[in-house]
């Protein structure tokens, strides 16, 4: 029952291309609605850029979340870390352009520390990742709440270049996200570390028996995940001029980042998936937003639609990946 496959599964496996199909469907619906409403200005390259630009923070966070989920873990602390990063960066900069570099370094250091702590909790104390990162989220939230009154400040105009600057007609933030995605793809595809992430996510015991230092791989993945969240926090501070302690939770970046990773075909138990799926997931989410804005449907319906898509995508993968048993 468990052991044999009756027939070889076809080499062309649909679930592998499902994110692309879903993306194509979302795109088709978007174009159809834009055309039917006669809003052709929503079909220009500028419109495409603006759609993508809507999801920079989610995209950056989701790149990191992809690492956490691929390695067989998960990170629920990203939303609060985003808030903390935004608040801390604007507090340190406090309008002073000279403090930009120290602030960025401090925020990234904070991200690295949070990622390390998450990793340590999960690998050394063997706390379930859901609980470990949930605990971390509450701790960050508590710290923010108690310190918030003392934090003020805003980012200097120069720092807003990150969110609003343009190079060759493309937003700087979009370029940063694109480079981040390319880097993540290269790491996962071409490096030993990337291969180890898949191995550890696929089966931790097997990986350990093959001589992979699994704890380090999990730690590194969590550090990457937290660094990405910190970067997303910096971006939001840049966009909104100052950080607020609710910025991450309001955007629901924890659950949404997990959702787009999963829609992108990365399986929650780890070891299978990749960065391009996540990119597709992020774009699908932005397209849904755009479609509903275009059609003028209210935000509740949009949220319902997102929920349906997440569940449908996961159900689809689950059905498709069932082994044929003999």
């Amino acid at each position: 029952m468990n052991t044999a496959t009756l027939t070889k599964r076809p080499a062309w496996r649909m679930e592998r291309y499902a994110p692309a199909l879903l993306l194509a469907a979302a795109l088709a619906i978007y174009i159809a609605i834009a055309l039917s409403l006669g809003h052709t200005r929503f079909l220009t390259p500028e419109a495409a850029v603006s759609i993508l630009n809507r999801s920079i923070a989610l995209g950056i966070t989701a790149v990191g979340q992809t690492f956490a989920i691929l390695v067989g873990s998960i990170d629920l602390s990203v939303a609060h870390l985003i808030s903390a990063s935004a608040v801390v960066s604007s507090a340190i900069m406090n309008g002073d352009p000279a403090m930009m570099v120290p602030a960025v370094l401090a925020v990234l250091l904070m991200g690295a520390v949070v990622g390390t702590l998450n990793g340590l909790l999960i690998t050394k104390l063997e706390v379930n990742p859901l609980i470990a990162t949930l605990g971390m989220a509450l701790i960050i939230q508590g710290c923010l709440a108690s310190f918030h009154g003392r934090f003020g400040g805003s980012v200097p105009d120069a720092f807003q270049y990150f969110a609003y600057g343009e190079v060759l007609g493309l937003p700087v933030s979009l370029i940063v996200l694109a480079l981040l995605v390319l880097a993540a793809w290269a790491v996962l595809r071409f490096t030993r570390f990337g291969s180890n992430i898949y191995s550890v996510g696929g089966n931790r015991d097997t990986a350990r028996a093959a001589g992979i230092k699994t704890a380090r791989v999990v730690m590194a993945s969590h550090i990457i995940c937290s660094l990405c969240a910190s970067l997303a926090g910096l971006y939001l501070a840049s966009r909104l001029k100052s950080g607020s302690p609710w910025i991450g939770t309001e955007g629901a970046y924890d659950l949404e980042s997990i959702a787009v990773v999963v829609i992108g075909g990365t399986i929650l138990s780890g070891g299978k998936g990749g960065i391009w799926g996540t990119v597709a997931g992020v774009i699908i989410f932005s397209l849904i937003d755009s479609i509903f804005n275009l059609a003028g449907v209210d935000a509740f319906a949009k949220q319902v639609m997102r929920g349906i898509i997440i569940v449908a995508a996961v159900a689809f993968y689950a059905v498709r990946s069932k082994r044929i048993v003999a």
């Binding site: 052991t3 027939t7 030993r192 898949y198 696929g202 015991d205 093959a210 299978k272």
Partner: protein, 502 residues
């Protein structure tokens, strides 16, 4: 005289409360197959885990290539050229064959993984297996059948340049044809000068492959042969007694009763035009290659993957069930082949596992310990009758041996007094003594009027325990044999290599 590839001298190992190994010595020379036989719990695995660095020894010495070694981590043993292939594969299903072979030691160029070199080297290693079993390095492992997965596992060891390869019951999940592939591979490795330690229960494999045989019993060397003795000699050393009554006596004509199950022209997407009858009191063995449809047939009868056409009758009533619940209500029980994954709730107690189905079929508001089928006390009594050995029936079932777990599952069904019991791989992973217990138990059930359908990939077991043998191939019933048929005839029918008169 060449020196041994590995030598284990006077190995002693204790676990809290148990002396697992008492001064056991064992060696393997390059180019030989040294069979290690013994029942489960005899100490084979412990000995091999010491060799592979999973456990540390308490006394004695492990000598590898003439040098005494103390491995503290499996990786050190792997680096010393010792590879162990466990029964449960350590492959990553979603990664490619090449990625699995090079797990944790991918070749790199300028810090990046050299996929080309990796695939080329994987292809070179896989080529050793001959062209008949071509495996492409970039196939995802989940797409391979079990035998091919095992070959990948072995390829991993070969590519590690292992001097010693330990195979722990490598044929447990393989069918006859796949076994032959494996045997050929063992011969190839032997010719290449690899020392092979071959752990098995099966005498046939020892006769076929081994150069020397060591038998462990209760943590001691029970016998050691520099040749391959008669199977009886080995078995006697393993169990410490004769096993003339290994299989129970077959059914007498008087014991065979009414037709219990009749299947006529039934089929579904994996089964074609199946027709047969099962009678009360008989054990019918279903032989065939992996994927021939035997398990699919069992699942169809059980309503798990239902028939889509044809007629099925159980005790004269229509019985084309579309879900297991209806099938169970009508009196069909199924004991799955993968006990841990499909048969047991591992973290519940022995009696909870026994009561599982009885509880499932009683009302939601009913009492958990007093179902209409069996109360908790009755279940405990039943477990006693079946001689399920556990410290207490309230302990978690996962600590029990395979044989005792299987008996607990039998108890589960007995509480429902089934008309038909379907056993899938009834003795997989069960040691020799307990196997005999299961065969006798099946026969006792048959004598009480239950029809028994036995699906097994262990051909000697089918020949020894069944009253009739039906052979399946590619989703069809292709042959029927009475008791006493030869192994060769069944194999020919199963592989379809020769026309067989049904």
């Amino acid at each position: 005289m060449i020196s041994p590839a590995i030598e284990m001298r006077g190995i002693t190992k204790s676990f809290p409360g148990v002396k697992a190994l008492k001064s056991v010595s064992f060696s393997a020379y390059p180019g030989e197959v040294h069979a290690l036989a013994g029942e489960n719990g005899a100490g084979k695995s412990t000995l091999m885990k010491i060799l592979s660095g999973v456990y540390r020894l308490d006394g004695g010495a492990v000598v590898v290539g003439g040098e005494e070694r103390h491995f503290s981590h499996p990786l050190e043993a792997i680096r010393a050229g010792i590879a162990v292939i466990y029964q449960e594969f350590s492959l990553l299903p979603e990664r490619t064959v090449a990625q699995n072979i090079f797990l944790g030691r991918e070749p790199t160029r300028l810090g990046l993984i050299d996929h080309k070199a990796m695939n080329a080297e994987a292809r070179r290693v896989l080529a050793l297996f001959g062209s008949a079993h071509r495996i492409e390095p970039d196939t995802v492992v989940a797409d391979l059948d079990v035998a091919s997965q095992q070959l990948v596992e072995i390829a991993k060891a070969v590519s590690l340049d292992a001097k010693v390869i330990v195979m722990d019951e490598p044929t447990a999940a393989l069918n006859e044809a796949e076994c032959e592939v494996l045997f050929g591979l063992v011969d190839t490795l032997k010719k290449r000068g690899v020392a092979i330690v071959y752990i098995t229960h099966r005498m046939r494999e020892i006769t076929r492959l081994a150069d020397r045989v060591t038998v462990l019993k209760d943590g001691e060397t029970a016998a050691s042969f520099d040749h391959v003795p008669e199977p009886d000699t080995i078995v006697r050393a393993m169990v410490g007694r004769d096993i003339g009554d290994f299989y129970a006596a077959p059914a007498t004509p008087q014991e065979i009763g009414e037709v219990v199950l009749s299947v006529r022209h039934a089929g579904n997407e994996r089964l074609k035009d199946i027709s047969f009858e099962l009678r009360a009191g008989e054990i019918v063995g279903f032989a065939g290659l992996q994927g021939a449809g035997r398990v699919a047939l069992a699942q169809a009868i059980f309503g798990f993957a239902p028939f889509t056409e044809g007629e099925v009758e159980l005790a004269g009533k229509p019985a084309r069930f579309t879900n297991p619940r209806d099938a169970i209500r009508a009196g069909i029980g199924l004991l799955p082949g993968d006990r841990k994954a499909e048969g047991l709730v591992l973290m519940q107690s022995v009696s909870d596992n026994g009561l599982l189905t009885a509880r499932a079929l009683s009302g939601l508001a009913g009492k958990a310990d007093a179902t209409p089928f069996a109360s908790a006390e009755e279940m405990d009594k039943l477990l006693h009758e079946l001689d399920v050995r556990a410290g207490s029936f309230s302990q978690e079932i996962k600590a029990l041996s395979g044989g005792n777990q299987q008996k607990a599952i039998v108890a589960r069904w007995l509480a429902l007094a089934p008309r038909l019991l379907i056993f899938i791989e009834p003795t997989r992973g069960i040691d020799v003594n307990a196997k005999a217990g299961i065969y006798h138990l099946m026969r006792d059930l048959a004598r009480k009027g239950t029809a028994i359908m036995m699906v097994s990939s262990d051909l000697p077991e089918v020949l020894g325990a069944a009253d009739r043998i039906l052979v399946m191939r590619a989703g069809e019933l292709v042959a029927a044999f009475p008791r006493g048929v030869s192994e060769a005839d069944v194999m020919l029918a199963a592989t379809g290599e020769e026309a067989v008169a049904a």
